[in-house]
């Protein structure tokens, strides 16, 4: 055949696409770290209070809960979803944990709270993956319902009476570092590895990058979504349990119906600043929806 396309592929490459956006890309990806370091440096120089050890430990302790919520939220956002109910879920788990701890036993309280968090995640997951409700709408809905239930059940007052020793979880330190930070570190390491090292994580990136492609390649999208929302529920429960051990000054460990209010938005902000994107998914042209480089 003498047509131009006849014969074997010749090994001639396709022209490489211009990479003039590389500098911009690097700025996008690492700019936030530079800004962070600059901010910390400025504060170190400017404020004597900032550079105290107490302040740093305080920061680690206070932000651990947000950090844990953000770990779960990262999964939701890479997947192309949303998790507005995590703050309410944390408050629910805090109240449930405190109630069971007061009535029965601390260990059982932790277990029941984790279960409650997973059930909320299951409800979100079923609504989103199987009923087809938009993730924003459904988690906004569960957020409102959960907050309402928690306020009604507790009359909006904290549940006092958890054994004082449980404040170790929220306020104690190990090796000089606040315990909530260790929990956050553990959650971050486990979930980070799950995301970048396993098939599960790769499939989450694939669904977020191009849902149609993921389906065509045989990924069970509904099951994946369900599992991710349950995982987010576990993170919310962990935050709620820490909340019990982080009462207002001088009080014993407490179930906090008003705890974690608005944390969902802070967690989402943390995830976005960390590099994931909220851009619409579907056509596979969003390199920055949790870019999966490695």
């Amino acid at each position: 055949m003498s047509t131009p396309a006849a014969g074997r592929a010749t090994g001639r490459g396709l022209p490489p696409r211009r990479s003039r956006f590389d500098a911009l890309d690097a700025l996008r990806r690492y700019g936030i770290a530079v800004v962070f370091l600059a901010l910390v440096t400025t504060m170190l120089i400017a404020s004597p209070q900032f550079r105290t050890q107490g302040n740093f430990l305080n920061l680690l302790q206070q932000n651990a809960i947000i950090g844990i919520l953000a770990c779960g939220m990262t999964f939701a956002i890479i997947l192309g979803g949303f998790g507005l109910s995590v703050g309410a879920n944390a408050a629910l788990c805090s109240v449930v944990a405190a109630k069971v701890m007061i009535e029965v036993d601390i260990g059982l309280g932790v277990a029941v709270a984790l279960l409650a968090g997973v059930v909320v995640g299951l409800v979100n997951g079923l609504l989103i993956a199987y009923v087809g409700v938009n993730p924003f709408v459904s988690t906004l809905g569960t957020m409102t319902v959960i907050r309402g239930l928690v306020y009604v059940y507790t009359n909006a007052t904290p549940l006092f009476g958890v054994d004082f020793s449980f404040t170790r979880v929220g306020l104690g330190r190990s090796l000089g570092v606040p315990n909530p930070f260790w929990i956050f570190l553990g959650v971050a390491l486990v979930l980070g590895s799950l995301l970048s090292l396993t098939r599960f994580g790769h499939h989450i990136y694939a669904i977020g990058g191009n849902t149609v492609a993921a389906r065509q390649m045989g990924i069970d999208i509904r099951r994946m979504r369900l599992v991710v929302y349950m995982l987010i529920g576990v993170c919310a429960a962990a935050s709620g349990i820490i909340l019990v051990g982080q009462p207002a000054t001088g009080q014993p460990a407490t179930g906090q119906p008003a705890g974690a209010l608005g944390y969902e938005l802070t967690a989402i902000a943390a995830v976005i600043i960390g590099g994931a994107t909220l851009a619409a998914s579907g056509d596979g042209h969003h390199p920055r929806r949790g870019r999966c480089d490695r």
């Binding site: 396309a5 490459g13 022209p15 090292l197 790769h202 492609a213 042209h285 969003h286």
Partner: protein, 265 residues
């Protein structure tokens, strides 16, 4: 005037044979008693006007939709594709127009999407990234494709490079049939040529290739046999050597009832 008698199909065993396929969407008849045959080492072009039923036919052949009636056989064995996975595991790979690539992932991750390689304990499903990257690079080299680093994200590739990756993925996993839906519709001239070379290379490797294209020059350049759908009917088929562009157009539009090569019987 169904299938021609003077441009007979080769005597050898067909790779893929769909017989008397019908598909209705409500009252709309998308395909009515359509048959098509594909042989190893040939590129078959599927042409027809918009709404003729081309997409429906390839969706049925690739397991995306199921036919109301009719049979499909692969290598002489009847098959039933309930899902795209069924078709893929039987050796039929399809490259859709949307290419089914995740832009946020690397080239190798896309090639291995849904077919990941693991290392360590099986239960952990830990990705063997190095192995997948190496194997993906080898796959592309075997096809003679010189693409950017295997670690680049697909979103950083040009349209032609994406099409080449999607086609290469189909070739890497497919064992028998590759179905291509408008493989060059979105590409420029140079990119089209490279993709056409890839397709021709796959034919030389013995794949049976079924290709939808609106570009009749391309059909004329690339295919060995042309199948024409019109309003849900397979009007005719013809060896490319026995016809020309003008005649193809008139058969598509209905100005001619069939190819003269088959009418002269």
């Amino acid at each position: 005037m169904m299938t021609g008698s003077v441009s007979p199909l080769p005597p050898e065993q067909p790779l893929l044979q769909a017989t008397a396929i019908s598909k209705h969407f409500g009252a709309v008849v998308a395909l009515d008693d359509v048959s098509i045959t594909l042989f190893p080492g040939e590129i078959a072009g599927l042409v027809g006007d918009n709404g003729a039923g081309k997409s429906t036919l390839i969706k049925i052949l690739s397991g995306v939709q199921s036919a109301d009636r009719g049979t499909i056989s692969l290598d002489g064995t009847p098959v039933h594709f309930a899902s795209p996975s069924d078709a893929r595991s039987a050796g039929v790979e399809t490259v859709y127009q949307d290419l089914a690539l995740a832009g946020n992932m690397t080239i190798w991750a896309n090639i291995f999407l849904g077919r990941e390689r693991f290392m360590g304990p099986e239960r952990l499903q830990l990705l063997d990234k190095r192995r997948m990257a190496r194997e993906a690079r080898e796959m592309l080299e075997r096809l003679g494709l010189n693409v950017p680093p295997i670690e680049s994200t697909v979103a950083s590739l040009s349209g032609g490079q994406r099409q080449a990756i999607a086609t290469a993925r189909a070739a890497a996993w497919g064992t028998k049939v590759i179905i291509l839906d408008e493989p060059t519709a979105a590409l420029g001239v140079a990119e089209t040529q490279v993709v056409e070379e890839v397709i021709a290379g796959l034919r030389d490797k013995g794949f049976g290739i079924l290709m939808i294209s609106h570009n009749l020059q391309q059909i004329d350049r690339l295919t060995d046999r042309i199948w024409v759908l019109r309003r849900g009917h397979m009007v005719d088929h013809c060896r490319r050597a026995d016809t020309d562009l003008e005649e193809i157009v008139s058969v598509i539009t209905g100005a001619a009832g069939a190819f003269s090569a088959s009418q002269s019987a």
